[in-house]
C-alpha cells in the first residue's frame, strides 16, 4: 500500500471513458481532487458530468483502461454499487433525500438507526450527537424539529451534514481520515440570496479535511466557492486549473466551445400586428418574477434558460396547472387573469399546452391512440344520445395519418408506440382543436432523430397557418432551428431577447450562462 501524505490527492481518476450505443458520453477524462479543497465541475447538459459522477457512484461501469485512486490507493473498476461508501465517498444530490415529516435528528441518524436492528435507540445520546454536529457545521435548528419546518436552504445543508457524519463513521471503522463529498447541483432549487449559508457549510466540510466535488450550472457559484475547476464539453475535459486563473468569460467559452457566437445567415422575423398578438403581462409565481412577452400569429417564440431559471414554469402557469400569483394574458380581443385560470378555461380560450412529461401529464399510455386523441373532441361525436365510436375512430385515424404517426393504427395502446410517435399523437390531440396559442414544453424530449424533424414540420406548419407557438426548451439547437425569437431567463426573469441572426445555438447557450459579451447585432 503506497504511503499517504498530505499532498496525496483524495481522488485521482484517469482515462475515464464511457460509451452508450454509438455515442461516446465520456472520452478519456481525468479528474484530480486535492484533500481540503472544493473542486468545481461544470458543463452543459450532456457534457458528461453526470456520467462521470455515476461511474464514481458505481452506477455505470467505465470502459476498460480507466484508473482510479482514492486517497493514494488504487481501486479496482468498475465499482460495485454502494462501494463508494466504504471508500470514504458521499453523494448529495439535487433531491436531498430527507423525510419531511420526521425530525432533524431522525433524518440525520437514519442510517445509523437502520443498522442497529434490535438494540434500543438511546435518543438522548442521538440528540447530543446531533447537536454537536449542527454546531460544528453552523446549522441553527432544533434536533427535534420536523424537517418540514426548516427553511428551504437548510435542507441541503442537513443532507450534507448527514453525508459527512455517515462518511466519518465509516472512515473511523477503516482507520482512515479523509473523505470526499460529491455535491450534485445542490443549489439548483434555491434562491440565490440563501446560497451563502450553504456555502458556509461546505467551507466547514472542507476545513474538516474533506475534498469536495461541487457540480453546478451556476458559474457565479463556481467562481465564489471553488479552488479548482474542471470544465467538461462533449465528454472531454475542455479545461481545468485553479479557479482564480479563469474569468467568467473563459469558463463560458470552455463550456460552449465557441469564442464569439457566429450569426446565422437569414433573419427570420415574422410580421407583427399588435391586434392579433398574444400578450402576457406581469406573470409572477413561484420561481418567476414579473414576466412580459408577446407572440405574433405565425411566430414560434423560444424560451430558454438554465434549470431553475423559471422558464419551464411559464407553460404550466399559462394554463393554470401551476398556480400563478398574478398576471394577465390577452388573446386578441379578450383578457384572461392568469392567477385564476384553469386548464378548461385556457383550452376554451384557445391555449393548448403540450407538457414535457408525456406519459405523466400528456396522455394515458395504457389507453389507445384513438382514445387519447379523441378526449378533447368527444362532444363533437356525441349526437342523438350516442358517442359515434366508429366516426371517432376514423377521425383519429385521419389525424394519425395526417401527422405521420407510425404505425398509423389508432387502436393500439399509446405506450406501444415509440417516444417520437407518442409525441406526434399528443400534438395531434391538441392541434385538431386549432388553438390560437400552442405552448410546447421540451417538445422533442426522448424523441428519436427522424421523428424530431417530423415534429418540427408539424410545429412549423401550424405556425404557417397563423398559429402562435411558445416553445419552452433547454435544447438550444432545437430553438435555433425552430424559432425566430428566443427569450432567455435567468433567476426568474427574462433578461435577454435574441432575434434574427442572433438566434444561434451558441449564442443561446452564452446568454443562458449569462456573460456580458457585446451584442452581435
Amino acid at each position: 500500500m503506497p504511503e499517504t501524505t498530505a499532498a496525496t490527492p483524495i481522488l485521482e481518476a484517469r482515462h475515464f471513458s464511457k460509451r452508450f450505443g454509438g455515442t461516446l458520453a465520456l472520452d478519456d477524462v481525468g479528474l484530480t481532487i486535492e484533500a481540503g479543497t472544493v473542486h468545481g465541475l461544470v458543463g452543459h447538459n450532456g457534457s458528461g458530468k453526470s456520467t462521470l459522477i455515476k461511474i464514481l457512484a458505481g452506477y455505470h461501469a467505465p470502459e476498460p483502461g480507466a484508473e482510479l485512486s482514492i486517497d493514494g490507493n488504487p481501486v479496482r473498476l468498475p465499482l460495485a454499487p454502494g462501494r463508494f461508501r466504504s471508500l470514504g465517498m458521499a453523494f448529495v444530490h439535487q433531491d436531498p433525500g430527507l423525510v419531511a415529516s420526521l425530525s432533524v435528528v431522525e433524518n440525520l441518524r437514519i442510517g445509523a438507526i437502520a443498522q442497529r436492528r434490535l438494540s434500543p435507540i438511546a435518543w438522548r445520546d442521538e440528540i447530543r450527537h446531533c447537536e454537536a454536529l449542527l454546531r460544528e457545521f453552523g446549522l441553527a435548528c432544533e434536533p427535534t424539529a420536523p424537517v418540514e419546518t426548516l427553511r428551504p436552504w437548510q435542507r441541503p445543508m442537513l443532507a450534507i451534514i448527514r453525508a459527512v457524519d455517515e462518511t466519518r463513521a465509516l472512515l473511523r471503522q477503516s482507520g482512515r481520515q479523509r473523505g470526499l463529498l460529491v455535491l450534485d447541483e445542490p443549489t439548483s432549487s434555491l434562491a440565490d440570496s440563501n446560497v451563502g449559508q450553504l456555502f458556509e457549510v461546505i467551507r466547514r466540510v472542507q476545513t474538516a479535511g474533506f475534498g469536495v466535488l461541487f457540480v453546478s450550472h451556476d458559474l457565479d457559484e463556481i467562481l465564489a466557492l471553488t479552488e479548482r475547476v474542471t470544465v467538461l464539453r462533449d465528454g472531454r475535459v475542455a479545461g481545468s486549473g485553479a479557479t482564480k486563473e479563469f474569468t467568467r468569460e473563459d469558463l463560458v467559452r470552455l463550456i460552449v466551445g465557441h469564442d464569439i457566437p457566429p450569426a446565422s445567415e437569414t433573419p427570420r422575423a415574422a410580421p407583427r400586428h399588435a391586434e392579433h398578438l398574444t400578450e402576457v403581462h406581469g406573470l409572477a409565481g413561484p420561481g418567476l418574477r414579473g414576466v412580459d412577452f408577446s407572440v405574433a400569429p405565425g411566430e414560434i417564440l423560444g424560451v430558454s434558460g438554465l434549470i431553475g431559471s423559471g422558464f419551464a414554469e411559464i407553460g404550466p402557469m399559462l394554463i393554470g396547472a401551476l398556480p400563478a400569483w398574478q398576471g394577465r394574458m390577452r388573446l386578441g380581443t379578450y383578457t384572461i387573469d392568469l392567477s385564476t385560470i384553469t386548464p378548461a378555461a385556457a383550452i376554451a380560450a384557445g391555449v393548448c399546452y403540450v407538457p414535457g412529461e408525456r406519459l405523466r401529464e400528456g396522455c394515458i399510455g395504457e389507453l389507445t391512440v384513438a382514445e387519447n386523441v379523441g378526449l378533447p373532441v368527444l362532444g363533437r361525436f356525441f349526437r342523438g344520445g350516442w358517442l359515434h365510436r366508429r366516426a371517432l375512430l376514423s377521425h383519429a385515424r385521419a389525424q394519425v395519418m395526417r401527422f405521420g404517426v407510425r404505425p398509423p393504427e389508432p387502436t393500439l395502446a399509446l405506450e406501444a408506440l415509440s417516444g417520437g410517435n407518442q409525441q406526434k399523437v399528443l400534438l395531434a390531440k391538441w392541434l385538431q382543436l386549432q388553438p390560437s396559442l400552442l405552448v410546447l414544453q421540451e417538445p422533442t424530449q426522448g424523441v428519436d432523430v427522424g421523428a424530431r424533424e417530423q415534429i418540427f414540420a408539424m410545429i412549423r406548419a401550424f405556425a404557417a397557418r397563423g398559429g402562435s407557438v411558445l416553445c419552452l426548451s433547454g435544447d438550444h439547437e432545437q430553438l435555433a432551428t425552430l424559432c425566430s425569437r428566443v427569450l432567455i431567463f435567468r433567476r426568474g426573469r427574462a433578461v435577454r431577447e435574441l432575434a434574427g441572426p442572433e438566434v444561434t445555438k451558441e449564442r443561446i447557450a452564452h446568454e443562458c450562462f449569462g456573460t456580458d459579451i457585446p451584442s452581435a447585432a
Partner: protein, 347 residues
C-alpha cells in the same frame, strides 16, 4: 441520446409493431371471452357430475333471480372503480336502504313507494358525504368510505334496534322476486337494465370516457381540461345511488331487512368487479364483464353446494376469485407491455 425510441427508419418500425398486432388478434379474442368459456366449462362439469340435480331449468332461473342484488351492487363498484375510487361503504348503503324500506313500510306504515324514494335519497346523501370527504377535503377514498361505511352500519343497527324486520309490502316483493315469465323475475330484468345503462354510459357517452381518463390519470385529465373534481364527485354519488337500488331489490327479494345483510355482499361484489375487468373489455372495469363474473361465481358456488360442500366454500370461492382476478389482470398487463413496469409505476 434517447434510449426508448428506436432510431430505425419508419418502415421496419411499422413492421415491428404491426406483426405482433395481427398475431395477437386471436389471443385478444380468447382473452376477451375467457371468462365465458370458463363459465361454460363450469356448467358442463357440474352437469356431468350432478346430472339430476344441477341441470334443472328451475336451478338456472333461481340463480338468475337471486343474484340481481349482487349485479346491481357490482355495477355500483364498477362506477366508482372506473374513477379510481374504492367505495367500501357501498354494502353498508345497501343495508341502510333495505332497512329504511323495512322500518318505514313494515313498522311505520308508510306506502312502499315513498319508502323506496326515502331509501334512494339516503343513498344519494351518503354518496354526497363521500364526495365531500374525498374530493373536497381530500381524504383517501379507501379510508373515507371505510369510516362512512361503519357510520352508516351504525345507523342501520340503530334504526332497526339490531333486529331483522320483516313484513315488507307484497307489492315490492311481487315487483322484484316473484317469477313473471318463463320463471324469470322482474328483479333480474332490473339488473339487466342497470347493467345495460352502465354499459351505455361507459361506452357511448363522453362522460363515461372522461371518467375513464380521470381514473387512469388525474393529472392528464386535469391538463386536458376535464372537470376532474366534479367527475369524481359524480361517480361517488352515482355509486351510492346504485348501492341504494341494490338495497331496494334486496328488500323486495327477502320481504325483510337484516341489519347485517349487506356485509355478505361486499366481497362478492369486489370479486365480480375485478374478475369482470379481465373479460369482455379486458383491462377496464366494465358492465358486461362484471355481469358475467357474478353469474360465473354464483354458478360455481351453487354447483359445489349441490355436491354437498358446506357453506364455507362461499368465502373460499369469492376470496380466492378476488385475489386471482387482480393477480391475473396484473400479469396480463405485464406481459402486454414490453418491460415490467411495476417498479416504474411505483415512482
Amino acid at each position: 441520446m434517447n434510449a426508448s425510441g428506436p432510431t430505425s427508419p419508419p418502415l421496419p418500425e411499422t413492421a415491428a409493431v404491426a406483426a405482433p398486432t395481427r398475431r395477437s388478434a386471436l389471443a385478444q379474442f380468447c382473452h376477451r371471452y375467457a371468462l365465458l368459456f370458463a363459465w361454460a366449462v363450469t356448467i358442463a362439469i357440474f352437469a356431468a357430475v350432478e346430472p339430476e340435480s344441477f341441470l334443472q331449468v328451475q336451478n338456472f332461473t333461481s340463480i338468475f333471480n337471486s343474484q340481481a342484488v349482487l349485479v346491481v351492487l357490482t355495477c355500483s363498484l364498477v362506477t366508482t372503480l372506473t374513477s379510481s375510487e374504492y367505495d367500501l361503504s357501498a354494502a353498508s348503503v345497501l343495508s341502510l336502504s333495505a332497512m329504511l324500506i323495512a322500518v318505514l313500510n313494515a313498522q311505520l306504515g308508510v306506502p312502499v313507494g315513498w319508502a323506496i324514494l326515502a331509501a334512494l335519497a339516503a343513498g344519494i346523501f351518503v354518496g354526497t358525504v363521500n364526495g365531500l370527504l374525498i374530493v373536497v377535503v381530500g381524504i383517501e377514498s379507501i379510508i373515507a368510505t371505510l369510516g362512512v361505511g361503519s357510520f352508516v352500519s351504525g345507523i342501520t343497527l340503530w334504526v332497526s334496534h339490531s333486529n331483522l324486520i320483516s313484513g315488507i309490502s307484497n307489492t315490492l316483493v311481487r315487483l322484484v322476486i316473484v317469477p313473471q315469465f318463463f320463471g324469470i323475475s322482474l328483479g333480474f330484468v332490473y339488473a339487466l337494465g342497470i347493467a345495460t345503462a352502465l354499459w351505455y354510459f361507459l361506452t357511448y357517452t363522453p362522460l363515461g370516457r372522461q371518467l375513464l381518463f380521470v381514473g387512469r390519470g388525474r393529472r392528464v385529465a386535469r391538463l386536458s381540461g376535464l372537470p376532474v373534481g366534479r367527475l369524481r364527485f359524480g361517480a361517488l354519488v352515482a355509486g351510492s345511488f346504485l348501492a341504494a337500488i341494490a338495497g331496494v331489490l334486496y328488500a323486495g327479494t327477502s320481504a325483510s331487512a337484516d341489519p347485517n345483510s349487506g356485509d355478505s355482499f361486499m366481497l362478492p361484489a369486489f370479486a365480480a368487479a375485478f374478475l369482470g375487468s379481465t373479460t369482455i373489455v379486458p383491462g377496464r372495469f366494465n358492465a358486461w364483464g362484471s355481469f358475467a363474473a357474478v353469474y360465473f361465481l354464483v354458478t360455481g358456488i351453487y354447483g359445489l353446494s349441490l355436491m354437498g360442500i358446506q357453506v364455507f366454500i362461499q368465502n373460499l370461492f369469492y376470496g380466492g376469485a378476488l385475489v386471482i382476478a387482480v393477480a391475473l389482470s396484473i400479469l396480463v398487463r405485464r406481459s402486454e407491455t414490453r418491460e415490467p413496469d411495476i417498479a416504474k409505476e411505483g415512482n
